[in-house]
């Protein structure tokens, strides 16, 4: 690893001192001039490129960093209000979460792309070339002939070698952020970069070590400006890289390049790019071992994605096989289709525990438990009606960069998170067992206890919280409830069209809703207190008495997960010390394989050290580099808000 580069950008963050540029506010001016949205986007982009001051660090090979920290909004607040009267605006309104076609532009160059671009595309391309020319001039000034050579070729012309391809990627990715698009994903990096890599390796340009160092240099580039990017918390920036997986002929695409990427992430221990590893029942155990070695580094990478489930699930929703097989991931875990996908993977969310709660309360005196299940079903459908109604006439700020890098908007589906599945399933299983099957809990008493947040019913609380069937313990009764909810959730979307003409995709993720949905919800029949948060994504409830990871794996692979292809990973946390021996590493790898072979969808495996987190809360300065996994991304622990820190600390940890 290039220690100097690492120290400069990661430890000391020296480059942040150079962030002195500004283009001021632009929205007011645009508003007065009545500029169209796309005019604004291009004008702002030109201004941002123009204001950037090239800076090259002596020991870096992949250049470009931001010196203008703030990207002002294109619209005034009152304009946004007007827009929102007519349109549903997703998050901050700019395009996000797509997997751009870097490959095509990297291979032919921007000048060739300019030929076919419209007026706005041409202006954007000119602005990029203008900025990179100034970088080249700066390189000349610094005597960096190597950088001059690279920037003479790219981005004007197609990359001729691996380094030029990486630099070209950096330029395009940088431009996406600079234009105001966000959660700009990396896609199937080891697939589209492989030809450049292979050619250079074959020609002997690099040894394995020097190739690794170049990749590390490139990986560092994702971390230069990441604290300027939009996200819920620091680290939630969508720079997801996908490795491995099959191609349309079923070939395993995991290569030496994939391996070096795993290695680079492991060496650097930085939160970007976020590493995802595509696997399937055919994946050899060796690949899992390489993945587990990265897990050991404690970053929460890689996240595993099961091709068998995802490809089947995407095809079921109408994706063509050759597109489905080429899936990458959005910011967190949602499968998206590179180059031709325009899906909005995280547009809505359903609060399962709230739905179950309503069904239980409204039907507690029902004759049979089936009536409660019927109610859950009808509420899920009603909730979906609401989501469909609310998320209408969706509008995104037009983006010339995206026009340049997305070939076709073939898929326009909307993903909806299914939040709090374990809490919801547990509540149903409790009510079924104790109220209906065993008659052990009085109906009125249960409702009263929930209303009182269990304050006067410690024995009932104990029963529901600790002695009841829980998802994650391989309990068929609880798991059957989860399957019922997820099947219903998925079925509730069938036949619906969204406002972009696509359909809807069900998922098992929570994103930040494990706090947001849980906060306002009162005490529930699973013994959960009022306001108590749900598990992250597709995980057991936080207080389920879970000690056996294999039971967790079994519980969470029982539902037909291809129906909830929008996804959301099961999270397993292992105390970091178990990764100390090679033998244990192999055992963890075998567990991951077990999960995939059983039909698991996505798995998030973390090596955590609770003690370090406690220490970090006390003495943040000493733990600046401590990385933890949050929901679909990793973050520096000390930069998180305390509620996120506490939630991470309260998750299940296996100490085997």
């Amino acid at each position: 690893m290039n220690k100097e580069l690492y120290n400069y950008y990661i430890i000391d963050r020296k480059h942040e001192e150079l962030r002195t540029g500004s283009i001021g506010d632009v929205a007011e001016e645009y508003s007065q001039k009545k500029l169209s949205p796309i005019e604004r986007m291009v004008d702002r982009f030109e201004k941002m490129c123009g204001a950037e001051v090239p800076h090259i660090v002596p020991f870096e090979k992949i250049v470009m960093m931001r010196t203008v920290p703030k990207l002002p909004d294109c619209f005034t607040e009152s304009e946004w209000e007007e827009i929102k009267k007519e349109h549903y605006i997703h998050e901050i309104g700019y395009v996000s979460n797509l997997s751009p076609n870097y490959e095509k532009t990297i291979s032919v160059g921007l000048l060739a792309r300019r030929e076919e671009a419209d007026e706005y595309g041409k202006r954007v391309i000119d602005a990029i070339i203008g900025l990179t020319d100034r970088y080249r001039a700066e390189a000349q000034k610094c005597g960096r002939d190597d950088v001059v050579e690279v920037l003479t070729q790219v981005p004007r012309y197609g990359a001729r070698n691996f380094r030029e391809a990486l630099q070209f990627f950096r330029i395009l990715h940088y431009a996406l952020w600079l234009e105001g698009d966000y959660h700009n994903t990396v896609g199937r990096f080891d697939v589209y970069m492989y030809p450049y890599f292979k050619k250079d390796m074959y020609a002997g340009v690099y040894t394995k070590e020097s190739a690794l160092e170049l990749i590390e240099d490139f990986f560092i580039s994702f971390n230069k400006d990441s604290n300027l990017y939009f996200g819920q918390q620091q680290g939630d920036n969508g720079q997801s890289m996908v490795l491995g997986g099959i191609d349309k002929d079923g070939n395993d695409m995991f290569s030496e390049l994939s391996e070096l990427c795993l290695l680079a992430s492991r060496n650097l221990k930085v939160i970007d790019p976020k590493i995802n590893l595509r696997v399937s029942a055919k994946t050899p155990i060796e690949t899992y071992k390489l993945g587990t070695e990265l897990t050991r580094a404690g970053l929460g990478f890689p996240q595993y994605l099961n091709d068998d489930i995802i490809i089947k699930g995407l095809e079921r929703l109408g994706y063509k096989y050759e597109d489905a097989v080429n899936y990458a991931v959005a910011a967190c875990w949602e499968p998206i289709i590179p180059y031709v996908g325009n899906d909005v993977a995280n547009i809505g969310s359903m609060n399962f525990p709230a739905i179950v709660d309503k069904a239980v309360r409204n039907n507690i005196n029902a004759e049979s438990f089936d009536i409660i299940l019927e109610a859950v079903k009808s509420y899920i459908y009603e909730e979906m009606d609401d989501i469909e109604r609310d998320i209408n006439n969706v509008w995104f700020v037009p983006s010339p960069m995206i026009e340049l890098l997305i070939d076709e908007k073939r898929y326009n589906n909307f993903g909806v998170h299914g939040c709090g599945i374990a809490s919801a399933a547990d509540a149903l299983a409790s009510v079924k067992k104790f109220v209906f099957d065993e008659n052990k809990v009085d109906r009125a008493e249960l409702i009263k206890a929930m209303d009182e947040n269990y304050e006067n019913s410690p024995e009932l609380l104990h029963l529901l919280r600790f002695e009841a069937p829980k998802m994650g313990t391989d309990n068929d009764d609880a798991d059957a409830m989860a399957k019922f909810i997820l099947d219903t959730f998925s079925a509730s979307m069938e036949g619906r069209k969204n406002s972009l003409g696509g359909t809807w995709r069900a998922g098992t993720g929570t994103a930040m809703f494990y706090l947001w949905h849980a906060g306002p919800l009162g005490a529930t029949a699973d013994g959960r207190f009022s306001g108590e948060s749900f598990g992250t994504n597709y995980s057991p409830s936080l207080f389920a008495q879970i000690t056996n990871p294999m039971s967790v794996v079994k519980s969470f692979t029982k539902p037909d997960l291809y129906k909830t292809v929008n996804g959301g990973p099961l999270t397993l946390e292992f105390v970091s010390s178990i990764f100390n021996s090679e033998e244990n590493l192999e055992k963890v790898a075998a567990l991951v394989k077990y999960f995939v072979d059983l039909g698991g969808h996505q798995l998030q495996l973390n090596a955590v050290n609770l003690e370090s987190m406690k220490e970090a809360q006390k003495d943040p300065e000493k733990y600046r580099q401590l990385v933890v996994r949050i929901w679909g991304w990793s973050a520096y622990f000390v930069e998180l808000d305390k509620e996120f820190q506490d939630h991470v600390m309260s998750r299940q940890e296996y100490s085997v």
């Binding site: 294999m550 079994k554 100390n580 055992k587 394989k593």
Partner: protein
């Protein structure tokens, strides 16, 4: 028949080859002062109260009418933190075998299996035998034993195992008696027998600072085991953690901070497990 078990642990990483589920037999004839499973010592069901996280609400001290709580002086169904429980569950051998075989296919795919541990499984030899018989032909079976049993019992049970992990803690019988409560004659006799069979096995030596990790003891054990595979086990600093929960007191004869003498060079075929 019925046996008493104090834990079933999936994904046990230190109890034999591959991924294993370990079942912990309750009750042990030894009283090793360094034992880290004090709830495995008594053969009876006993109260297990975790102290960490206790709110001090004393709800568990209130009288209750649950049958299963009588005689323990605590209510098991009320702690808001779930800290009050009973160590020891009675299992029918068949039910236990079914539970353990839940992941049969997985064990067989990754070279793992089931391990009997404790406590001392040989203290419930008939139950262990029945359980092992039920698992026969289905999964790989391993036992972790102190070897403290009559030779007939020992031979009969290990015959039903595919792999034996046996402790040799102290070679001098007086020392052995001093620190474990029993002499080691039976143990060495059984160990000699094991060495003479073709049953795959491994010996384990817990490295207890200043007690078992002396060169003198290790050398004697090394000479005894010869070419056989040995695993030296580092002292478990967390050993005292559970004593308070079962109302016992951990020894003050061990200096846990003292560095252990993991002298592998005395052995022909030993590894250290940290």
């Amino acid at each position: 028949m019925k046996g008493i078990i104090f834990d079933i642990k999936e994904f046990a990483l230190n109890d034999g080859a591959g991924i294993r589920t370990t079942v912990f037999f309750k009750g042990c004839p030894l009283r090793c002062i360094w034992c880290h499973n004090p709830e495995g010592l008594s053969s009876k069901r006993e109260l297990y109260v975790k102290k960490k996280g206790c709110l001090g609400c004393k709800l568990c001290n209130l009288p209750c009418d649950h049958e299963e709580c009588q005689g323990f002086g605590r209510c098991l169904h009320i702690c808001p933190k779930n800290l009050v429980s009973i160590a020891g569950v009675e299992w029918e051998a068949e039910a236990l075998a079914t539970r353990l075989l839940k992941d049969e296919a997985f064990f067989n795919s990754c070279g793992g299996g089931i391990t009997l541990s404790g406590g001392e499984p040989l203290l419930q030899a008939e139950f262990a035998y029945e359980l092992l018989s039920l698992l026969e032909g289905r999964v790989h079976r391993c036992i972790e034993t102190s070897g403290y049993a009559d030779k007939e019992t020992f031979r009969k049970v290990i015959e039903k195992c595919d792999f034996v992990i046996m402790d040799i803690k102290l070679f001098d019988s007086d020392e052995h008696k001093k620190y474990t409560g029993v002499g080691n004659e039976k143990i060495l006799e059984n160990a000699r027998f094991l060495k003479g069979t073709n049953k795959p096995h491994m010996f384990r030596v817990p490295l207890i600072p200043g007690i078992t990790d002396t060169d003198e003891n290790l050398r004697a054990i090394a000479e005894f085991v010869g070419e056989d595979r040995v695993e030296l086990m580092s002292y478990n600093k967390l050993a005292p953690a559970k004593y308070e929960s079962v109302g016992r007191k951990y020894t003050d004869l061990i200096d846990g901070e003292r560095e252990i003498n993991a002298n592998l060079s005395l052995f022909k075929n030993a590894t250290l497990r940290k």
